[in-house]
Amino acid sequence: MENVLELKNVSKQFGSGHVAVTALHDVNFSITPGQFVTIIGPSGSGKSTFLTIAAGLQTPTSGQVLLNGHDLSAQSEKQRLRDRFAHVGFILQGSNLIPYLTVAEQFKLVDRLTHQKFQREEMRHLLDRLDLSKLENNYPNELSGGERQRVAIAKALFHDPDIVLADEPTASLDSARSFDVVKRLISEAHDLNKAIIMVTHDERLTKDSDAVYRIEDGQMTEF
């Protein structure tokens, strides 16, 4: 199976000299479609740095990042922005929903940006899968934390991205809701054949993952 995302010998250093921080040290990583991978590590271990480099938001100090086989460092910033919009879905810690758009409008915005007709059926299909069908016309502040993260999942999956990156998506949820969100991420990955990477510091959430990577002081190991 083709790798959707591959990191080869990626290192990232911030600063230089004696204040230099090595956030990532010689990281190797790969993920294929349909895989749900968890990256676990304590605060400050390099998880977010990993995600931003995987998404092309930052460039590594050394090493290669391949998205669908294309080397990100060979692309212009504009091209990376376009690829991110087209191929990468995001679920962020708090919520990446826009406060003044209803659930349906969050999706509509995406279609506005690409100058295409609103794909209402695709949105409804995703919302149904996540038990959100009655909340289409609600604003984010009218939803519970769990519902918000589920909307974020649906939005990340809208228009068929190749990969979804989730940065501590359960950070603001209680444990029952956290398990629910992870369960849903796993079934989306398997049913829709998506590559999903979830970053977390909660050990309990890793048990059903297809692969678990541990990261500590920038060193990543699979187990």
Binding site: S48, L51, T52, A55, L57, Q58, K78, L81, R82, D83, R84, F85, A86, V88, F90, L92, Q93, N96, I98, P99, Y100, L101, E105, K108, L109, R112, L113, Y139, D167
Partner: protein
């Protein structure tokens, strides 16, 4: 755009207040422009209606009619297609039988001078102590055959005609002969005295015959040197330009503050692949919408104000100019919003992932 519009619809109060601020600025700009135009007309309408091409003043007058003292014999030094001697004095008009006084500008010239305005009623004066009055006096109840007193003159004047709206020094005008103006200025005249005038007014080609103490002025030059004219216009226009800058600054500052408040959200948008261009476009769209609504409502209110403005207030709307001012206000707001571009460009999406 979609984003900007949806946000405005959701945050109605915030954006309505900002639109209100734009409306107030637009209103002040338009009313000042109306006053500038009204004052300008009040000063120059009489001169414009001469349909003249040049004015000859005393060389020592520093281009100002108020400082120009000449006599009728200087008309011999000028050759022109059309030519008329002219004198002007401020005085007070009183209708006989009443005590009501009106300030007027009394313009003296010869009987058949080209610069006498087109009559709406009656006929031109043919002998001394006959006058014609402007619409502005006509509107205050003056009519043909009315007897009036001018300043300290003992002779009674008779209204024999009237012409359209006509102002000088923000007062209505009266046309009479040169002798009457001279008597207002000097009291009694000596017999056979050359009559005093302030200027020789010409239309068509004209030139000075021989060396004389006259100076030839174009009409714009003459008007710019009317007493107070340039000072008034520069002051009011300076205020208007200042307000353009203010609308730029106000929208610029407000949009900047709003952008700072929304930095985190914009960071998230950038993570998702929505670029600076789209975000800036929605901010600019908001500024254009707010300023356009403010300006259009401002135009409406100004028109209303014009209709109900007190008659003693020199207020006249010049719509082509108002439209230009309106466009400039929207442009200023747009530029103000564009100033946030750098801030938006600098928002780092990496900060949204932590």
């Amino acid at each position: 755009m979609y984003l900007g519009l949806k946000e405005m619809a959701h945050e109605k109060l915030r954006y309505a207040l900002l639109t209100g601020v734009m409306l107030l600025i637009a209103l002040v700009v338009f009313i000042l422009a109306g006053l500038a135009n009204g004052l300008s007309q009040g000063n120059r309408l009489a001169v414009d209606q001469w349909h003249a091409d040049n004015v000859y003043l005393n060389q020592q007058a520093n281009k100002s009619i108020a400082g120009s003292q000449l006599t009728t014999d200087v008309t011999k030094s000028v050759t022109a297609d059309k030519l008329a001697p002219m004198n002007i004095a401020s005085t007070v008009l009183r209708r006989t039988g009443t005590n009501k006084k009106i300030n007027v500008a009394l313009i003296g010239t010869t009987k058949d001078a080209f610069l006498i305005p087109k009559l709406l009623h009656g006929r031109k004066p043919t002998k001394t102590n006959e006058i014609i009055v402007s619409q502005d006096l006509w509107d205050r109840g003056m009519k043909l055959g009315d007897k009036i007193k001018l300043g300290q003159l003992t002779q009674t004047q008779t209204v024999v005609g009237s012409y359209g709206h006509n102002m000088y020094s923000i007062t209505p005008t009266i046309y009479t002969d040169l002798a009457t103006v001279a008597k207002i200025q000097q009291g009694n005249l000596r017999p056979n005295q050359a009559l005093p005038i302030a200027a020789v007014v010409t239309a068509g080609d004209s030139k000075l015959k021989n060396s004389s103490n006259l100076q030839k002025l174009s009409m714009p030059d003459f008007i710019n040197h009317l007493p107070g004219y340039t000072a008034e216009q520069t002051t009011l226009n300076a205020m208007i330009y200042f307000l353009f800058t203010m609308s730029l600054a106000i929208i610029g500052i407000f949009m900047y503050v709003l952008v700072l408040q929304k930095q985190a959200l914009f960071g998230v948008l950038k993570v998702e692949g929505i670029g600076t261009g789209y975000i800036l476009a929605s901010v600019v769209t908001q500024a254009i919408i707010m300023s356009t609504i403010g300006v259009v409502v401002g135009l409406g209110l100004t028109t209303l104000f014009g209709a109900f403005a007190p008659t003693n207030m020199p207020f006249a709307l010049d719509f082509p100019r108002l439209i230009i001012d309106a466009i400039l206000l929207v442009l200023a707001a747009t530029v103000g919003a564009l100033l946030s571009g750098r801030t938006i460009a600098r928002i780092n999406p990496v900060a949204a992932i932590n």
